[in-house]
Each structure stands twice: as C-alpha cells, then as structure tokens.
C-alpha cells in the first residue's frame, strides 16, 4: 500500500470481497430515510407567515378543533428528506428507460422554463378571455399542430391523460350513436387481445360490452376473425397503431373499411404515435378518433406517474360531439365556448372542470417548435431505427416474438430462457443491478413472458451498444445456468425484491398516529 508522507494511505487496501452491514443501514450515498411522520412533530412549521389579526371568524360555528396529525418540517429538513428520497429513484436523466409503450424520451428543460413563465403559470382558468389572449392562442396553435400531424379536422384539448382521451373519443362515439338513434342496438366494441387494458376499461365505462379480437401469427389483428365478428351491433373498434407488439397494422384500411361498412366507428389508440409522427397521418388511414399522449410523444415529463395530457383528434363524423370547452377564433380575438348553449348544442358535455392540462400544452408546443416538422419526422425515424438496431443486436441471444422489422419498440418472449430456471421477472431485476431500468415485462399478453423494449430517439448509438452488451451478457449467463445472480436480483438497488403479495393481502395504505386514542380505536 502506498502512503503519503503523513502516513495517509493513497491507494485502497487490497480486494475487499466481503461487504459487512453498516450500523446505520446507510450505504454511503444511499441514505435510509424515515417517513415525515417519524421525524417532524405536529407543532413545527417550515413556512413563516405574518401573524393573523384575530378577527372574529364567520365559519358558521364549524371551526375545525380536532388535531390533524400533519407534521411540519423546517426548510432544511424538508429539503434533505426529499433529496434523499429522490436518490432512490431511477430516471431518464440517469440512463435508458426502455419501457415499451411508455415512450420515455428526453424531457427538455426549455419546456419547464416556458411552462413556468408567469404568463402561463399564474393565470386563472376563469379570467375574462380578454385577459388571456396569449394562452388561448397557445392552445389554438398547439391544436393546429396536432391536426396537421394527424390529418384530422378537430381536436378536443381538455382530456387530462391518455385514458381520459380514450374516454373522450368513446363518449363522442356514444353521442354520435345516440344522435343516430342506435345507442340501444350498437352495444359491442371490438378490441385486439394485445390492447392496453385501458381500452376495454374505457369501453366498459361508456356502457359497451367488449369482445377480444385474436391476433394472427404475425402479431397483428387477425383480419379474417375480425370480419366474422362484425355486425349491426358493433359500435366501434379500438385498435392501437403501431400496436403493442411494436408492429404497424398493415391491414389498417381494411379494418377501417370493415367497421365503417357495418356502421361503426374506428377508435385508434395513439399511445404509440411516436413511431409515426410526421411519417403518416392517421387521418389518411380512415380513423374516427385518436388520443395523443403529450407525455409520451411530445416529451412532457412523466413525473413518476403523471400528470399526463391526452388531446383527442376527431373526424368530421365525430367533430360535432366534441366536449366543451374549446377555443374559437373570431377575427383577431380568441374566445372560449364553455357551455352547450353557446353554440355547441351537439357537444357531449364536459370532461373536466377547466380547459385541460395547460402546463403540458406549453411544454408540448415548446418541444414541437424546437423540432419543427422536419425534426419531428427525424425523431420518429430515429426512434424506429434505434428499436430495430436493438432488435437485431439482441436477437443474437434473445428470442424475438415476431419475425421481421419492428416500429419504435421490439418485442421478445421468454423462449431464450427456456430450461434456464430464469423467468422474465428475474431477467428484468438483474438488469437493475447492471444499472438499467427494465423493459416492460409480461405485456402484451399475447406473448409468453413478454419483454417489450422501446429505446426512443433519445439514445445515442454508444448508449445502445452498452445497453445491448449488458443484456447479451445477462442472456448468456442465464443460459449457462447461473440462476443465483437472477433469483436474488436486485442485489445493489436501495431495496431487494419487495413482497407485493403481503402488501395486497393486508393493505397498509397510510402511516397511523401512535397516540393512545388512535391505538385504542384500532
């Protein structure tokens, strides 16, 4: 061991293979962190206010007297709490986040800066429209981009997330059926078995019965089976394109024609629009409605599970039923139609209290303006190129579910793990130890032990090479029968594998105050 002249070692001691536990449970930069309820008290606060004046309250005798058990942390305590928590999360800013069908792309910080301009962040949804002309203009411009990219005549901006957009589209279809006097007879919605769970759930929420369309052996909708299912009781089909196997539905026009011939509508799930933005306008393929996830395709941050935003484009046939509110332009002035009585008599109604996810609109438009039409098309091409590059490299050791090129995501099954004793979940958890967020696992349901990888256009070739090399090494190791590394994984994450069964069997959804009164009530 070399030392400096004070006797301080300047090289580490020789190989330390043993890793003894620490006294604190901390592991260097990974700090164990208590709940706020275990560290704050119920009398402290981290916010200073001017003292109240002591006016006589006018609360109708309903003042809240009982304790609320809400701890208050000082500012440094709060800062440290949340920074420590943050360090237990994986994030796109740390590395690839290859969740298929989730489109985890780079979130530009310009978007964040723009959304925080007081002119967008500090305006109220019920201000007189004369005082928010810039905001209404922004919504109108974003709408025009979405209409141009999809080739559709109308877009409902208010849906709050992708599933909310699905609801919007299906409500428009329901309203159109009511107007045709066919709401009672058209009760079935057809959706492929590879569909996102939101599709059947949305259809059910609109009062429809859902029938699964089987997949063919290429991973696409089985056209012959689909045709047999059509009939006068069909309200709509809900098809994701590109689909959740990462494949373009090459029969999409036949699907559209088929459902239109029997008088139904075509709902297209636009969750995977990132693969085709600027490359194909869905309006040219015969669709009637499609939501767009601004938090996938247009880079607004996923934020650990929301907020999303799901503007929904509508065809001429469905446009009259679009929800209120929407922006209108008269000469140089923008206005809002907020009620049916303002000239929107056929609107199916209102989806949310206000005008939609304005904060997300600003971010999405900032992203679109930055890319331009040319950049958006290039982004889609790069997303597809990256996915196919990963597909070809990984196919050396892993089993591709369906032969041939893919769109923005590539799908593998667990065939390559056969007889290895390693399951899809073990493989995914071992990726965590290698420093990567796992791919989407066990979805879509049409493939056994599915692994769905969506690299997006945000990854460099070098990053993809490193990622693929890590997965190839893991695949070879699994095939060699080194189960131990997989079954115990993750070994190096802030937590080992968590017991989900216990969580569901005896749900504990909150911290409970440890007072005698509360414990007695338990």
């Amino acid at each position: 061991m070399s030392m400096n002249n004070q006797g301080r070692p300047t090289t580490p001691p020789s190989n330390e293979t043993h890793c003894p536990p620490t006294h604190t449970g901390n592991k260097a930069l990974q700090i164990e962190e208590a709940l706020i309820f275990e560290q704050g008290d119920f009398v402290g606060t981290g916010v200073d206010f001017a003292p109240p004046k002591g006016l006589t309250p006018r609360l109708g005798g309903l003042a809240r007297d009982a304790a609320m058990h809400l701890p208050g942390l000082s500012e440094p305590e709060a800062m440290r709490h949340y920074v420590r928590l943050s360090q237990k999360n994986y994030a796109i800013d740390m590395g690839p986040f290859p969740l298929g069908s989730c489109t985890m792309k780079h979130n530009p910080r310009l978007n964040e800066k723009m959304a925080r301009l007081p002119g967008f962040a500090h305006i109220h949804p019920l201000q007189p429209t004369s005082t928010v002309q810039g905001a209404l203009a922004l919504i109108d411009v974003l709408a025009s981009w979405l209409k141009e990219l999809t080739g559709m005549p109308m877009v409902a901006m208010s849906p709050k997330a992708g599933a909310h957009g699905e609801l919007c589209g299906m409500m428009a279809i329901k309203a159109a059926l009511v107007a045709r006097g066919e709401a009672e007879t058209r009760v079935r919605v057809l959706a492929p078995e590879s569909a996102h769970g939101t599709n059947p759930a949305t259809a059910a929420q609109c009062g429809f019965k859902v029938d699964d369309i089987p997949a063919d052996k290429t991973g696409r909708v089985d056209l012959q089976a689909f045709k047999k299912m059509l009939g006068p009781d069909v309200a709509a089909i809900m098809v994701t394109n590109p689909n959740t196997c990462g494949l373009f539905e090459r029969d999409i026009r036949a699907l559209a024609d088929g459902v239109h011939e029997v008088g139904g509508y075509f709902y297209c799930d636009g969750a995977n629009f990132n693969a085709i933005m600027g490359k194909v306008k869905p309006g040219a393929l015969g669709i009637d409605a499609m939501h767009i996830n601004l938090h996938k395709t247009f880079s607004t941050p996923h934020g650990g599970g929301g907020p999303g935003s799901g503007p929904t484009v509508l065809s001429e046939a469905l446009a009259p039923y679009a929800p209120v509110p929407y922006v209108v332009k008269n000469a140089d002035q923008y206005g809002l139609v907020e009620k049916r009585s303002q000239g929107a008599e056929t609107s199916f109604g209102r989806m949310t209290a206000f005008h939609g996810q304005m904060g997300m609109f600003v971010r999405a438009l900032s992203y679109m303006l930055s890319h331009g039409g040319d950049g958006l098309r290039q982004a889609a091409e790069d997303a597809v190129l990256n996915a196919n590059y990963v597909r070809v490299l990984l196919a050396q050791e892993m089993s591709q579910a369906f032969a041939g090129p893919c769109m923005h995501e590539c799908l593998f099954d667990d065939g390559f793990l056969k007889n290895s004793g390693v399951d899809t979940i073990d493989f995914a958890k071992a990726m965590i130890d290698e420093g990567y967020h796992p791919m989407t696992m066990y979805f879509p349901l049409v493939v056994h032990g599915a692994m769905l990888i969506e690299p997006t256009e945000s990854e460099s070739k070098e990053e993809l090479d490193r990622f693929c090399n890590a997965l190839l090494a893991l695949a070879r190791e699994a095939k060699r029968g080194n189960q131990e590394k997989f079954k115990g994984a993750p070994l190096h994450a802030p937590r080992r594998r968590l017991d989900e069964t216990m969580a569901a069997r005896k749900p504990e959804l909150r911290w409970k105050p440890q007072t005698a009164e509360y414990l007695a009530a338990e």
Binding site: T198, G349, S370, G373
Partner: protein, 450 residues
C-alpha cells in the same frame, strides 16, 4: 437537432447492422400513398427563438401577480414556497415513470405513501389514493364508486356543487346508466338546501354529493344529511374545491361523509390556467377495494426492510381490463409531490395559519365591498370566498374592472349561463396573498363602475 443524439454516420452504420438501405424500408407496412405526407409546419428552431416566441405569447396574458386578484371558483392563488418547485424539478422525480419497478422507485413510492396519509388526515378519512386528475374527475369517480358500493343507480347532486363538477359527474354517471338528480342552485343559503336534499334521498339512492364550502361560499354542517343518507343505505360524498379551507373548518369526514374528494391545487400548485391540478380522493378503510386510481402500500423486501409498492392493482385496468373499477392509468404524480412537499413544510400549524389569514382577508374584503352602494353580501358564513349581488349584471362589471387591471371575481353567468336569476352575482375569493391595497383598489373600482 439538439435533442437527437444520432448523426448521419451513426444512422448509416445502424442501417448496415439492421440490413436495410433506406429508413423507409422499416415503414414498409405503411400504405405507400400515406407515407411521408407533406407537413405544413415550420422547420426546427433554436432554443433562443422558441423562448422568444413563447415569451411573447405569455406576455399577452394578464397574470395574477399583475394587480389586484380575486378569482376563485375552484382554483386559488396561494403563495408556494420556492423549495417546492425546486424539488419537483429534480431529475429523479421529474423524469421517472410510474413506479412499476419498486426496487428503484422507492423515492416516488415513499412520497406517495406520505401523500396518502396527509390527504386522509386532511380530509378526515381513513385512507386516500395516490391522486386523481383533478377535483372534478375525482367527483365523477366518487359517484361511480358509490354506485359500485351500494349497487344503486340514483345520484343526487347538491345545488351548491360547482356546476362544472356537476357536468362532469352527470355525464360519467349517465353513461353507465345512473339517474342523476341535480338540485337547483340557491345562492342565498344552503342551510335549507340540506333539508331539500334530504327529501330527495330514497332507497334507490347511491349517494348525495355536496360541496362544502359550496360554490357560493356558504359553509354547512353536513351531519344531518349524512345521517339521512345512512338511514337509507346511501353514501354521502363530500366535495372540497378549496382544500386550504380544511385548515379552518371541519372536514367532511368529521361530519360523516363516506367518500371525500377535493381539488388539491391550492397547496403546492400554480393556477396554470386550469391544469395540471391534483385530485384528492379519500374514503373509509372498508371500501378500499372499490376505490379507483393508484394505491401505494407498505410492505417489506427480501431482507425484511420496510419498503413501498403499488398495491391492490387487481382493481385496475391493466389487470382487470373491462371489469376494472376505472379506466384510469395515471395519477397526478408530480402535482401530488408538490402538494406533499408544501404540506410537509406547512404542517398543521402552518396550514391553520394560512387558512386563518385567507379567512381574515376574505372577511375584510367582504365587509369593504358590501359597503359599496347597491352591493349586497349574500353570505352569513364563508371561508375565503363569498357571493355578492350587484344591482346590475356582473359580467360587464368584471370586464370594466379588468380594463382597470383588477381581476374582480367570477360572474355568475360564467358558471350558470342558463340561469337568469344568477346573472347579477359576483363570486369573490381572497387568500393570504390578498393585501390592503388590493382590497382598496377593488372597492374603489367597484364604486367607479357601478
């Protein structure tokens, strides 16, 4: 293009590896005539250019900071500590996904567990979910949940429910075959409304949905209504559009509600022209398997250490598909985080002070404007929002005051356009941000334009 790491040399090399000559070989399944359409869109721009363009649009809006501001009706201007916005912009929170891999998402999961606890305590309930899109959609989900719990189909909406919440709820409930009864809006008082609502409850009623304070600002004791609902097996759903009010007045949970939903925007989140916001949803422990939305629960890992996971997902769409409790697939994660950070800073003490200051600002505003000739204050009780009856239609008055740089409140016509009796009403909100100069400007302005 600054967001795309690949260069043309990379692309060429990758095409070779894949074995294609042209990128469009990968789009071979797309109908030929639909591929590479003409796009009538501008080309890519520099960061500076985008910033200038959007900055110019933002500058066309009159913000809440630009002068006296008294607008509420479901979204409120409060001061948010700088710490909140700093933390939610950390990469690990901002750019993470739904915590489907809990071993590397304990940060998100722990704050959700803390958030659920804070929300349940604040709303006076036993359990809360990990948030909804906003208050109005949470309200609609509460109606659907009441239908599932009671297996009944009649939904009663109080007249004092925010009319936009009522619209959203009615539409969602009617789609699944519910009968929706909406009591008329009564701006004068809602103490009697409690009796009128109670009279509508029968053995087919799934729930009564009542807002407190109501859309006119009145505060009511919900206890008698809860008792009447429970006597027939119906649920009481409490709605709160100004969550700061719960720092001053009894929560719906304490007054017997079975489900409480709220708009959480006031804590931690900006006005944002209506979104994103954060819907709060809480209920009793016995109903958790009927709840919509994500839930985070406590568990242990393979070494026995405490950890958190998403749980009870057998209610959710990705498992149950058409049998799910809701089609919801996202919560309002980052807004819930903002709420939770702000609430952790406030604590009970800070929340009570913030509520008291908002209430006092409203008292001072109400007394000052009620002294203006021809203006009548309709509320005996209120928290931070109250209703005035003006001698003339309110909307033109609001426009005239806006021209004087005063955002005076919400005219009745904006919320109830079909109801002629409400056209002279002006709903005014104040918060801890309202100061003496703001109130004086409003009083002076009203005097000038009336």
């Amino acid at each position: 293009m600054r967001y795309l790491p690949l260069n043309d040399a990379d692309r060429a090399e990758m095409r070779d590896v894949i074995g294609i000559n042209n990128i469009d070989d990968l789009f071979a399944d797309v109908p030929k005539d639909a591929l590479n359409p003409t796009l009538d869109l501008p080309s890519h721009q520099s960061e500076m250019a985008v910033e200038r363009w959007l900055g110019a649009l933002a500058a066309k809006n009159r913000t809440a900071d630009d002068g006296p501001f008294f607008i509420g009706a479901g979204a409120y201007r409060h001061h948010v500590p700088a710490t909140v916005d700093h933390i939610i912009q950390r990469s690990e929170f901002l750019t993470s996904y739904t915590p489907y891999q809990p071993e590397i998402a304990q940060g998100t999961l722990q704050y959700l567990f803390e958030f659920q606890t804070q929300v349940a305590s604040l709303l006076g309930m036993e359990v809360a979910n990990a948030s909804m899109y906003d208050g109005s959609t949470a309200c609609a989900e509460a109606a659907l949940m009441a239908k599932r719990v009671t297996r009944r189909k009649k939904i009663i909406l109080a007249g004092g429910l925010h009319p936009h919440y009522a619209s959203v709820t009615r539409m969602n409930a009617e789609l699944v075959g519910c009968e929706v009864i909406h009591a008329p809006a009564n701006p004068l008082k809602n103490a009697e409304e409690s009796d009128e609502l109670a009279a509508l409850i029968d053995d087919q009623t799934a729930c009564v949905i009542v807002q407190n304070p109501d859309a006119f600002g009145h505060i009511a004791d919900l206890t008698p209504l809860a008792e009447k609902a429970h006597a027939t097996g119906a649920l009481l759903v409490g709605v709160v559009t100004e969550v700061v009010s719960l720092g001053a007045i009894k929560s719906p949970g304490e007054m017997g509600a079975d489900i409480v939903v709220a708009e959480g925007q006031s804590i931690g989140n900006s006005l944002n022209f209506g979104g994103p916001y954060v819907g709060l949803f809480a209920t009793r422990q016995k109903y958790i398997r009927h709840m919509p939305g994500r839930l985070c629960g406590k568990t242990v890992d393979a070494e026995g250490k405490r950890g958190f996971v998403l749980t009870l997902s057998t209610r959710e769409q990705h498992i149950r598909r058409d049998k799910a409790t809701s089609n919801i697939c996202t919560n309002s994660g980052l807004c819930a985080l903002a709420f939770s950070i702000h609430m952790s800073l406030l604590g009970e003490k800070g929340l009570r002070t913030m509520a008291t200051l908002s209430h006092e600002a409203a008292i001072e505003t109400a007394d000052a404007v009620a002294a203006v000739e021809g203006v009548e204050l309709l509320n005996k009780s209120f928290f931070n929002e109250f209703t005035l009856r003006l001698p003339v239609e309110a909307e033109p008055i609001v426009e005239k005051l806006a021209a004087k740089n005063i955002l005076a409140g919400v005219p009745g016509v904006r919320l109830w356009p079909e109801d002629d009796a409400l056209q002279n009403l002006l709903i005014i909100a104040a918060t801890e941000t309202t100061n003496k100069q703001d109130i004086e400007a409003l009083v002076r302005g009203l005097g000038e334009v009336l």
